[in-house]
Symmetry: C2
Subunit: 330 residues, 2 copies
């Protein structure tokens, strides 16, 4: 058993490639510097989601540019030459910074959070963007904006980034403009994914929020927890729709919600054609191992069948029967 | 001016038919018995949404079956032979019944409300369904379930209705099973509208909630009010998608949110092919008049163009230019 674990960890250092030769990049979701060695040890192909709220929610004052830069630089350097994907501030909802002193909201999950909050607080946003761009000089960085609901928001966020980039170039910083992505986690963004895809270098689907909004359920509320269902045909069709739109536009599509780290869903995610999956580091070895046991073409056929079902129960039954037949039940 | 108003009111009593002969049923959203004469006076072709929460939120105790029946019967009789569409209880969110004593929720809009609440409280639900079905004997009734997110919920709600129907038949009540509809106001319901359409006789799009969930904004929260936008291309594509699914299945599709009562949006709603629009009674005469000035085929072409746009601003500009060219700016 110890031996099996060793083999899994050793294999996790290699790329995950399906039996028929399709590579799926498997990255880590991280929040802290301390987690980086572990993530690399578990075979992370870089970081698909670096959460940047920690320095804001654990202290009384907003961190300044130098503090952020020092932190981001260390992250980027520790992971070099792997990619780090910084998600810009996702405060609000259930994460608060004391100094910001935001008004209380009746439905905070439907309120001023993430990119909305940043666009309303240009100083807050610029300081973070400056720190991320400065860290670009030390490794491979991507930036993604959370909770994009429309093209105007995305363009506005990109404009901030462009302005800060020009500013830093004038100050003498020698960096390239980093790849820039939109998180798809709001239903309207799904429906205009074709338009959004033209504005960015990649998509990353945040399934936790997407499922929450698409089903109109607070995932922290046990009264409606029974409705939280990644296999809801509506959710699967949304995911499929985003992938089609992204790939038609020639961009990479990633998933970085909890759904990405579940073995049971993996044949569907592979079949839909995800280029990247990002998850808790601990899940990476088993996910990479499982990808190597799958056939992309078989998973694709499975997805075609599954997209026709009306209920999550039918999806689950069909998926489990398929896995059992293939001897792949997790 | 008084004369113009008289003409408008007289014309409102007739069906609304576009210049090229397409009829659009225009109904009233009502809550109280007292509003019925006004609605009929304004030319309502029946009631597209009768809200049933009033008797629950205005008193300390839950009303019993007899009280509900007496109320519903009066509603149905006063409107006869027009259709009344009862929405089953839409409590929770921002409407509470004291006796139910529901737990507080951090995001009540994403919590235990509407059909979810009824399915968890069978006694509450059955009493209302009994009262509505008993009222069927006195006129033309339809029933619709609010906040349907998936096929299981819809089937479960219909099962309750079927059981209560059988029960009442055994007690000797001689009624037909009423037409039964699903409100489409949750994003996952949009994406499985083809499946849902096979289970019901009609759809009614509740745009207030649909827009709120699809954009992930609390429409009561002024911090994010700037994002509330019925002309968001994602919203328009959702609406279009629902209509296509409904019509492919051969069922009527209605809209009963505030969006349905706005002149500016009307060419789009007519062009998308709505069979019914339901709104505040006061809006009916002007809406009916405006429908008569439109051409369905022209509105359809407009919709085809508009569905290609990436931003609400482009949609609005194109729509306004189109209206101006046709001399139809409201
Ligand atoms: Mg999120
Ligand atoms: Mg509603």
């Amino acid at each position: 058993c110890e031996e099996a674990r060793e083999r899994l960890l050793a294999q996790a250092k290699k790329p995950a490639i399906t039996r028929d030769g399709r590579k799926v990049i498997v990255r880590a979701n991280l929040e802290l510097l301390d987690e980086i060695p572990l993530a690399l040890d578990f075979g992370a192909d870089g970081v698909g989601l670096f959460r940047t709220e920690y320095l804001y929610v654990t202290r009384k004052t907003i961190p300044n540019e130098e503090e952020l830069f020092a932190n981001y630089r260390q992250v980027v350097e520790s992971l070099y030459p792997n990619i780090v994907t910084f998600r810009t501030l996702d405060l609000g909802g259930d994460k608060f910074a004391e100094e910001l002193d935001l008004p209380e909201e009746i439905n905070p999950a439907l309120g001023l959070r993430a990119i909305r909050l940043c666009l309303k607080n240009p100083a807050l946003f610029r300081i973070q963007l400056r720190a991320i761009l400065r860290a670009c000089a030390y490794g491979n960085v991507r930036i993604m904006f959370p909770l994009v609901s429309g093209i105007e928001e995305l363009r506005e966020a990109k404009k901030f980034l462009q302005e800060v980039f020009e500013e830093l170039r004038q100050e003498g910083l020698d960096i390239e403009f980093p790849p820039c992505g939109a998180m798809i986690e709001i239903p309207t963004a799904v429906f205009i994914a074709d338009h959004l895809a033209k504005e960015v270098d990649f998509f990353s689907i945040g399934t936790n929020d997407l499922i929450q909004y698409a089903l109109a359920i607070d995932r922290g509320n046990e009264q409606v927890a029974h409705l939280y269902e990644p296999l809801h045909p509506g959710i699967l069709r949304m995911v499929h729709y985003i992938l089609e739109a992204g790939h038609r536009a020639g961009i990479h599509v990633a998933m970085c919600g909890e759904m990405a780290g579940e073995l049971l869903y993996l044949p569907l995610l592979v079949g839909f054609g995800f280029d990247e999956l990002s998850m808790n580091p601990q899940s990476i070895p088993a996910i990479k191992d499982y990808i190597c046991a799958l056939s992309f073409e078989e998973c694709r056929s499975l997805c075609e069948e599954i997209l026709q079902f009306a209920s999550a129960e039918e999806v689950r039954n069909h998926l489990e029967a398929w896995l059992e037949k293939k001897g792949l039940l997790p």
